[in-house]
Amino acid sequence: MLSFLQKLLQKPVFVYIGVFIVLLFCTSTRGNGVVVDSNFALSFDPIHSYKDFFSAWSNTYYFGISNEPVYSYIFPVGFLYWLGAHVFPMQIVQQLVLSAVLLTAFIGFNEFITAELEKRSLYGYVGALLYTFNMYTLLSVGTTAVFFPYAMLPIQLLFIKKIFTEKSHIVPVIGFSFATLIMSGINPPLSAINLVAQVFYFFHLFSKQKLSFSFKKFLSVLGLTIGIVVTTNLYWIIGVIDYYSSISTKGFAAVLSEPLSMQNAASTYLNVFRNLGIWSFGGGAGGVLYYNYSDMYLKNYFFEFSLYTIPLVIFMGIYIYHKQLQKFKNIILLLFFSIAMVVGSRQGFLGPIYIWSYQHVPLFSMFRSGYKFTTLVIFALSFLLVVILTSIKEKRNRLMVTYFSLGIILINALPFFTGRIYQQIKQIKSIPSYYYDAKQFFDTDKSSYRIFLLPEQYFATYYWGFTAGNPETMWEKGLVARQAGSELEQSNEKTLKLYSGLFDKNYVKANLLMNELNVKYIVQRNDFNWQFYRNISQSPEFIKDVLAPYKKVATYGKLDIYQLPSSPSQSALIESDSVQFQKIDSVTYVITLSHISTSTIVRFLESYDPKWMLYPLPQALTPTCSTLVYSENGVNECSQNEKTKIPFQFLLTMRPYSATHRVYANYANEWVLNKNDIERKVPSSYYHVNSDGTITTSFLLFFKPQLYFYMGIFVSAISTIACLVYLTIHFLHKKKYV
C-alpha cells in the first residue's frame, strides 16, 4: 500500500488531480446552502468598469461606493466566469474557478521548486501544500483580485527561469506574459509586489546560474520579454499608467489620505512570525469576528502556537543548513525584506526607513497596505522549507520534520477542510425580491440622480447576509454612502458631513449637500444589520425620526423610499438652456444644443474630472431621437432603445473642443460654450445655422481615458491571438519532428 502510494506520488499528474479533487471538496459549501456573493447576482459591465476603477478615486469628488464592485472579474478570469455560467450554476462556476486558481498555485510552486532544485522531490509537495493552504489563502481566497497575483507568482518565476536558461526564449516569454495576464493588474500594489519578487529572483538567477549572456543578447531577450508582456497586458497597464501619472497631488492625497497606521496597525513582527499580517483577521464588529475561525487561531493556545512552528523550524534551519542555503541567499533576503514590509511603519528599526520611503520615494506609497507582502513571506517560507527538508541528511530526522510540517499545515488549513472558508453570515441564498421591486421603481424615473443610503454603513451588512458589494448597485444609479475606511479619507468628507447634518436635524445643511450631490431619493434600509457596526450605523427608529420631514413615496418590503423636495439640479444629468442628450454608455453622451445665440452653459452632474471632454460631432454621426422618454425643465432624454454606437474610427481621430471646463457646485462639471467660438473652431459641416441666425450643433461628451482602454484591449487581444497562433505552430512543428 505504502509503495503504491509512493509510486503514485512519483507521478505529478496524479497528485495534481488528487489536489484538485480535494480543492473542489474544500471550496464546496458542504450543504451549508448556496453561496452566492452579491456580485454574481448583479449584472456587470466589465468594459466600463475602467472609468470607475481607475478614475473615480483620482479626484476628491468621489461620493460613496463605486457602481462597479466586480472589477476583479474582468478579463481574463471574468471570461472563465462568463463561459462557465453558460454551462453550470454560478456557485459551481465559482467553485471551479477558485479550485483552478488554487491548483495553479500548487502546480506552479511544485514545478518551480523542481526547476530550482533541478530534481523532482516529494518534499516539493510539502512546500506546495504550505503555499496553497495557509492563513493568507484562507483570508484571501474569496477576494480573487487579491489572490490571483499570489497564485500566479511561482509560474511567473518559473517562466523567468526558462526565459534565461532555455535556448528558445519565445515560448517561455509567452508563458510569462499569459501568467501575468491571468494575474491581472487590477490591484496595482499586488502586481508591484510580484514585481519585487521577480527582481529578487532575477538577481538570484544571475548570481546562482552565473549566466553567461553577452550584453547584446541580454538586452534582446529583455526587450522581447518586455515587448510581449506589455502588448498582451496593455489593457490594464495603460490604465495603471494613466491613473498614476495623471492624477494631481491633491487627487493622490485623496487616494492616500487613509492614515498610514490604519493599514498596518496590527502587523507586528510577532504577527508576521505566525504568517499573519492580521489586517482584518482579528477584526470584527459588534462582537462578531470577520472570520468565524479567527477566534480559534487567536485564543486557543494549541492553534495559536501551531502557526509559529513552521517559521520557527525554518529560522532554525537557515542557520543549521546555511551552507546548503548559500545559493538561495536572495530568497532568504526576500523573506526578511518582506517581513519588514508587512510590519511597515508599525514597529522596529526599519519603520523610520519605511516612513521616509513612503514620503519620498515615488510610488512607494502603494505599499501602505503592508499586509499584502505576506504573500512573499509565505512564498519564501515555502521555498526554504523544501530546501531545508532536502538538506536534512538523516532520513529519520527528515521524515520527522516532514510529517511535523504536514501536520502543522493541516492544522493551519482546518477551515479549508471543514468548510469554513465561507462564513454562515456571509452566505446569501438570494437578494430579497424587494430590491428588484425597488429597481423597477427607480427605472420608471428616467431623470438622473443619486440615491442616499441610510443607515450609515461601513460594509453592507444585512440581516439576510453580508455582501461584498452593495446590492443597491443593481439600481444602476449613483449611490451616496460612506466608504469603508477611515473617517479621515477625503472621499468620505462630503458624505460624512451629510450624515452628521441629517442626524443633527440640520435640514438646511443636509438639503444643501444633497442638492449638491444630486440626491433625489433617500432609502431607509430596515433590513440593515445596524448593530454590527454599532458605532457607525443607526437604528431604524432613529432614521425614521430624522427622515420625518421628507415625503415617503414608496415602500418595498424592508425598503422605505423618501423623495427630496425638487430642486433645479435634480432634474437631469445634463443641464442647459436648450439641450437634448442621449446616453450611449456610462462614458459616452451625445449633447445636442439647439438655437444657440450667444453663450450657453452645459452642466454635467457627474463627479468633476478634467478628463471628461467635449468633442464636436459631425451632423452625420449625430443620432436622431424620435422617442422622448423624459422631458422636464427643458431637458429631453431619448429612449435607451435608440442607442447609437459612435464609430471607433471617429473616437480615434476626434479632436477635443477647447472650452472653459470648471467645477460646478463643488463637485460637477460645467462648460461655457459660445456661439462665435463654435463658429470659429468647428468646421461649418458640424453645425446648422438656423433661419434666425442661431446655430444647432452636437458634441460628444466622452471620458477620454476610456479610449486608451479601448486601444489597450485591442492591442492586448491582437497580441494574445498572435501568441496563441505562434504557440500552435510551434507545438505542431515540434510534434512533427519528435
Partner: protein
C-alpha cells in the same frame, strides 16, 4: 599601582561628572515638566469603567489610583476627539476612596480637548495625598453620536501631578538633595525625559566609547569582561519590559552597542542568529503568559538579531567559515 588607582579615580570622576551633566541639564533645560512637579503614570488597568466608544450623555469614565507623593493637584486624562471639534461638556469629579462627598468638581467644554492628548483637570492641592487612593469621574453632559469624545487608551491613559513649592524643596541642603533624587527617579519614569535628554548623554557615551576604543587599540579585547554581550542582550529584554515605549534613538543605541560587540568580540553570524531564535521562543513564552506587549518588543529584537545574523552569514562571511 598608584598610577592605576589614579586612572581609575579619573575614570570614575569623569563618569560621575558626565552623569551629573546628563541628569541635571536634562532636568532644567527645556524640561517637559517644571522641576517642582512630580508625575505618576497610569495605564488602562486603572480605569474602572469607561464606554467602549463615544462618551454619550450620562455615561462616565471612572478611574482610580494611589497617589505616589504628596501635593496632588492635577489629573490629566487622554481623550480621543475623533479629530472633530465636539460641542459636549464634561463634568470632572475627584474624591478620596471611601469618602462620601466629592472633593472637587467642575465642568469643561470638550472643544478645547486636543486629539489623543492629555487634558489637564486641575483642583486645589491635596497636601497629604501620599499613599492615599483616589477615584475620579468624567461624565458627559450632552454627548451624542458623532459629537462626543472618548477615552483614548494609549499609555499613559492618565497622569497624576504633584506640585511642590520652592520653599518646600529648598528648605535646606538635605531637602534639596533628597528632592533632586526624587525628581530624578520620577523623571526616569517619563519617556519624554529620555527623548529630551538625548543630547546631554553625549559626555557619558563619549567616555564609554573612548574606554572601549582604548582597550581595542591596545589589543586588549580579552580584558573586556565576557559578560558585556550578555548585558547588552539583557538590556534588550529590559527595554522590552519598560512600562513605556523608549524613543527609537535608545533602541538604536542598544543596537549599535550590539554591532560594536560583534566587531570587538569577532562574533560570527551564528551568535546573533541564535540569540534571535532564542528571543523568538522567549516571545512565544511571553505571549503564553499574557505579556503581549513585551512579547511584541522581544519579537522585534528577534527579527533584528536574526537579520544581522543572516546578513553576516550570507554576505560577510568568507567561504567555509
Amino acid at each position: 599601582m598608584f598610577k592605576y588607582l589614579k586612572k581609575i579615580a579619573l575614570t570614575i570622576t569623569l563618569t560621575v561628572v558626565a552623569l551629573f551633566i546628563w541628569f541635571t541639564v536634562s532636568l532644567f533645560v527645556n524640561p517637559q515638566e517644571s522641576f517642582t512637579v512630580l508625575l505618576s503614570f497610569f495605564n488602562k488597568d486603572n480605569i474602572i469603567s469607561a464606554p467602549k466608544g463615544e462618551l454619550l450623555k450620562g455615561e462616565k469614565i471612572i478611574g482610580s489610583f494611589k497617589a505616589q507623593y504628596g501635593n496632588l493637584g492635577i489629573v490629566s486624562l487622554r481623550f480621543n476627539t475623533y479629530v472633530h471639534i465636539n460641542q459636549d461638556k464634561v463634568i470632572f469629579r475627584i474624591k478620596q476612596v471611601g469618602s462620601n462627598n466629592w472633593y472637587y468638581q467642575n465642568d469643561y467644554k470638550v472643544d478645547q480637548f486636543q486629539p489623543n492628548q492629555l487634558f489637564t483637570f486641575g483642583f486645589p492641592l491635596i497636601h497629604a495625598s501620599k499613599g492615599k487612593s483616589y477615584v475620579f469621574e468624567v461624565e458627559s453632559e450632552s454627548g451624542k453620536h458623532k459629537n462626543a469624545v472618548a477615552l483614548d487608551t494609549t499609555n499613559p491613559v492618565f497622569v497624576a501631578k504633584y506640585q511642590y513649592t520652592k520653599s518646600e524643596i529648598a528648605r535646606n541642603a538635605v531637602t534639596l538633595v533628597k528632592y533632586y533624587f526624587l525628581k530624578l527617579s520620577n523623571a526616569f519614569q517619563d519617556v519624554r525625559f529620555y527623548y529630551n535628554s538625548l543630547l546631554y548623554t553625549f559626555p557619558i557615551i563619549s567616555i564609554t566609547l573612548w574606554y572601549i576604543y582604548s582597550l581595542v587599540k591596545k589589543g586588549k579585547q580579552k580584558q573586556l569582561p565576557r559578560t558585556i554581550p550578555y548585558v547588552v542582550a539583557i538590556l534588550m529584554i529590559v527595554e522590552s519590559f519598560l512600562s513605556f515605549n523608549l524613543d527609537m534613538g535608545y533602541k538604536t543605541g542598544i543596537l549599535l552597542m550590539w554591532l560594536l560587540i560583534i566587531k570587538i568580540y569577532r562574533f560570527n553570524g551564528g551568535v546573533s542568529h541564535k540569540l534571535g531564535v532564542v528571543f523568538f521562543i522567549f516571545a512565544l513564552f511571553l505571549q503564553i503568559v499574557g505579556l503581549i506587549k513585551n512579547a511584541e518588543e522581544i519579537a522585534m529584537w528577534a527579527f533584528t538579531l536574526m537579520l544581522i545574523g543572516i546578513v553576516q552569514i550570507f554576505f560577510f562571511s568568507k567561504k567555509g567559515e
